[in-house]
Symmetry: C2
Subunit: 199 residues, 2 copies
């Protein structure tokens, strides 16, 4: 069965963005903390990270077949200029399809009838790979719906003191996890992989 995983860079105090959308220079520092190149779907954007982080992220990219993101991130990034850096099909969860979308030949699909429908759609797009759900609201909705299988945390040594939690207001707390199944130490980051225990 196609699995749903979520992953994000998270501060030690649990935030994927600081207060007022700040702190990204800390959260994403590890993307530039080494000399091993990791290309993206955008030719002008290449990450240069530690060898261990590069191996970790390449494996993650290889195993992922489709993404689910929220409308807010889609808008904030201006649709990533037309293509997600991971070069994957993206399902956007939204109340209303944005003006001018969908576009012919674009990797973005819009789902307006909730998270379960979005997951179903993304699974179909992912083929035999996993679905990657964005951290924050989308990951929380997947967790609440019992649809989340793994949580990949890129733990960053900083305290942001507030902002957007990785998991906000989850419904069925406490959610017991298994792991970490793996611990990979990069530079400026520790990659931890957890499995959601089925009730």
């Amino acid at each position: 069965m196609t699995e749903v995983h979520t992953g994000a860079s998270m501060s030690l105090d649990g935030f994927i963005a600081g207060p007022g959308e700040t702190g990204f220079e800390h959260l994403f520092k590890w993307y530039g903390s080494g000399d091993v190149e990791v290309p993206t779907a955008h030719p002008e954007q290449t990450f240069r990270m530690s060898a261990d982080s590069a191996e970790h992220i390449r494996a993650l990219i290889d195993r992922t077949g489709a993404l689910i993101v929220g409308r807010r991130l889609f808008d904030m990034t201006n649709a990533w200029g037309g293509e997600h850096p991971m070069g994957l099909p993206v399902v956007v969860v939204t109340h209303e399809i944005p003006d001018g979308w969908p576009r012919e030949g674009s990797p973005f699909t819009f789902v307006t009838d909730g998270i379960e429908s979005a997951v179903e759609r993304a699974k179909a797009l992912a083929g035999d790979k996993v679905v990657g759900a964005n951290g924050g609201t989308i990951a929380r909705q997947c967790l609440d719906a019992g649809l989340l299988n793994e949580i990949w945390v890129d733990l960053v040594p900083v305290l942001l003191g507030g902002g957007t939690p990785f998991f906000e207001q989850i419904k069925n707390a406490p959610a017991v996890l298994e792991g970490p199944l793996s611990v990979v130490q990069g530079i400026d980051v520790t990659h931890l992989r957890f499995r959601v225990r089925r009730p």
Copy 2:
């Protein structure tokens, strides 16, 4: 110079207690997840944890010379029945000295003039060892005052969804850390040690 370290069991989403003082069966599960005995100052209370966690916690106990806790924990635990499980002198930060205290021959000292005074007092008691500051309010006050050197996180694979953060409302966010200096994998816990970067 005597250092100040803080440590606590923390959920993956950053809480040292769940909503309404719940979740401790998850946060402290690792204290009973193995068969290596770690005795406490209370003869009737012995932990049985994994060998790796036991080695980690014994080293932590060995290096600690005095503790700082808040009045709330002192009250909640009823002064730990008269002695802290670690068998160490304890400085209690409080607005008013509680009725019936201090007591002759007791390990508890009360400081009513703030965190800096409490740290000074604890350092004198710690001798050539480190001061252990309790997670939550006390750790945050030490961090805000620039008096905190290390953060030891016992990371527990659970999402509590709310409660008491390890670091709440820190003043000078973001606080950049170094590390983890060490990663020790126990059963039901990952021990991570971070250093606070001096401004």
